[in-house]
């Protein structure tokens, strides 16, 4: 099947070359970090996790969101998602892969990561996160391979893959739940210490992941003959509308609990996030942009006539991805550290080199995604010809 990725248009090769160049830049920068240590990032004593761990958290959501097409298609036999399912599964694979890479580049001693397996520690949530993430990656590789081969041969998927598909549904929920547990199980960090963190992560994942999938499906339709179908896109738009509404509701619950209860230790974090603390407010403009994008997305998604217009849907999806990336990929992790348990307000902003490494990982994910989508669309085009 891989041979389908070896022939392509000029545009395809240009895209691959551009992504590859970014991967090389990221890799070279990572080698600097490997030599010098994590000191070349913007991280500090007070803010020990930043851009890398935030991207990991955001991308776990993207990976988990594949379940939003897998569940209707395989469990409820919702036929309209027939073509979208493969795009969803093929998005989950690079998303998981990027998650693992973002964890890896965050390690102070990357040569020793195998210690997690050599000394398995069930009382550490990070141990479980490693298991569910790698498991989910494996599940998606196995499922997409089996179903895609069957489809290519014009057969229904083999019987043995059905239970694996069913298993992948709760597994998708588990990856984001366990990732939330990484944070919400820490008494030291009141900002994360909330039982709603896992549901909130899932809601934002089920908004941002399908939004990304809509954007990708529409892009694929533009550049290839692969059409996921108008009905499928519209249905996915509806899912985004629900996901986004529930997410905003959950954020509201958090803000109510913090401010109405009046507990200073929770209020301080939210204040830092949206207004700044002691003159430090690097995240505040971003968070207000996120709120504005959320409001815009909500209006565009909730009015059916607007949502069903694909051009409007594109704007709504861009707004959702932007809003939730800022929320999860920028604000959520860092704010847990500001103020610190000793009351220090230390700000964090990624350094240029840190951003290049992150960009390199995104480019590598994009490269895998492009190759997988190339295979999927070429095979489809051949089947339809």
């Amino acid at each position: 099947m891989l041979e389908k990725a070896l022939t392509g248009s000029r545009g395809y090769w240009t895209l691959l070359a551009a992504l590859f160049a970014l991967v090389v830049v990221g890799l070279v920068t990572y080698l600097q970090q490997f030599a010098q240590g994590l000191g070349l990032t913007g991280l500090s004593r007070d803010v020990p996790w930043g851009l890398y761990i935030s991207q990991f958290t955001f991308l776990v959501g993207v990976a988990a969101s594949a379940v939003m097409v897998v569940l209707p298609y395989y469990v409820h036999h919702y036929k309209a998602f027939g073509k979208l399912a493969i795009l969803g599964e093929f998005l989950a694979i690079p998303a998981c892969f990027m998650c693992v890479l973002f964890i890896f580049v965050d390690m102070g001693q990357p040569r020793r990561v195998i210690n997690i397996i050599l000394h398995p520690t069930p009382h550490s949530v990070m141990f479980w996160d490693m298991i569910v993430l790698n498991g989910y990656l494996l599940l998606n590789v196995v499922i997409s391979r089996a179903t895609f081969r069957a489809e290519r041969a014009g057969r229904p998927p083999p019987g043995w893959v059905k239970p694996i598909i069913y298993l992948s549904v709760p597994w998708a929920v588990s990856i984001h739940t366990v990732t939330a547990f990484l944070y919400c199980g820490l008494a030291a960090r009141p900002f994360w210490l909330t039982a709603i963190l896992a549901p909130r992560f899932l809601a934002s994942a089920f908004a941002s992941g399908p939004s990304l999938l809509i954007l990708l499906a529409l892009l694929v339709r533009r550049v290839t003959k692969f059409d996921a179908g108008k009905e499928a896109i519209a249905k996915l738009g509806e899912i985004v509308a629900y996901g986004m509404s529930v997410n905003i509701f959950f954020v509201g619950l958090e803000i109510f609990t913090a401010f109405y209860s009046g507990r200073p230790e929770e209020i301080e974090h939210f204040t830092y996030l949206y207004a700044g603390l002691h003159g430090h407010h690097v995240l505040a403009p971003w968070m207000w942009a996120s709120l504005a994008l959320s409001a815009l997305a909500l209006v565009l998604l909730l009015v059916p006539s607007l949502r069903r217009n694909e051009s409007v849907l594109v704007v709504a999806c861009l707004a959702v991805v932007g809003a939730l990336w800022i929320d999860k990929g920028l604000g959520m992790v860092v704010t847990g550290f500001v103020p610190s348990p000793l009351g220090h307000v230390t700000e964090y902003w990624p350094t240029g080199r840190e951003m290049l490494i992150a960009l390199g990982i995104y480019a590598l994910g994009g490269l895998v995604l492009t190759v997988l989508y190339k295979i999927a669309t070429t095979v489809r085009e051949e089947l339809e010809a």
Partner: protein, 256 residues
């Protein structure tokens, strides 16, 4: 002889050849019995007498002794600081003991902080490699050789007691001592209650330094021994502990 069986025998031979030195090394490793003069505590603990400590304004004796004795680096950028024991403003250590009417001088008074060697340490719970663990004698120990540098423990500690080596610490060590190991970049370290000194019957460096200047604000000992000085202090005075509401049960006590 078939190729298959030859490979089998050759493989076994190779394992044997490698196995002998490994077994010898393991036999040597097995002979690390505790030193005859080791201090064997049931539950090590520390009491910090704030009142005594405050009588020596600007004193850094314990901090310097600890950091010197443990090859703790002096980083050029404060955001990369490594600290085992240091002074914080009182308001940051015991925020619940400050009122809106507390005078600034009291709020800002320097208060000593170290790893609390908790009974229920969150850092140990979250570590994915057991590079940090709870010893039966109460110490929260740290193996910098196993640490993968994920900083989950730094995130989980409610006391800010853990430091990560953001860069190679060795060029930043002033007057490196050869009798204590240095660390590498990318690992976490913290106060160990001087496990290496307890193992040979000595008391922690900070405690000795504090006594050395005639202050005696730091008292260290075994709570399992009813006759120890710490046992007498925890029974006889009203003591503070940092963030007891988190359920960590710190074993550094404060006379405030």
């Amino acid at each position: 002889m078939k190729r298959r069986s030859f490979l089998k025998i050759a493989g076994l031979g190779l394992v044997g050849a490698c196995g002998v030195p490994v077994a010898q090394a393991m036999a040597r490793a097995g002979s690390t019995a505790p030193a005859p003069n080791a201090s064997n505590g049931k539950r090590w603990a520390m009491v910090i007498d704030e009142k005594k400590c405050l009588t020596k304004s600007g004193c850094q004796a314990c901090v310097l002794a600890c950091h010197k004795g443990h090859n703790v680096p002096t980083m050029s950028e404060s955001r990369h600081d490594v600290k085992w024991i240091w002074k914080e403003q009182f308001v940051n250590v015991f925020p619940e003991r400050v009122t809106p009417y507390t005078p600034a001088a009291m709020k800002e008074r320097p208060t000593l902080v170290v790893c609390n060697h908790c009974d229920n340490p969150p850092c140990v719970r979250v570590c994915p490699t057991q590079a940090t663990w709870k010893r039966p004698d109460g110490l929260v120990a740290m193996d910098e050789h196993r640490c993968i540098g994920c900083r989950y423990c730094v995130t989980a500690c409610p006391y800010g007691a853990r430091s990560f080596n953001w860069e190679d610490p060795r060029p930043h060590i002033v007057g490196e001592l050869t009798d204590y190991p240095t660390r590498t970049k990318g690992v976490v370290e913290k106060c160990t209650f001087c496990a290496e000194r307890l193992a040979v019957g000595k008391r922690p460096l900070c405690v000795e330094a504090c006594e050395g200047i005639g202050c005696g604000a730091l008292v260290f000992g075994d709570l399992g021994d009813p006759n120890s000085a710490v046992s007498a202090l925890v029974r006889g005075s009203e003591l503070g502990r940092r963030k007891p509401e988190l359920g960590t049960s710190p074993h550094v006590f404060y006379i405030l």
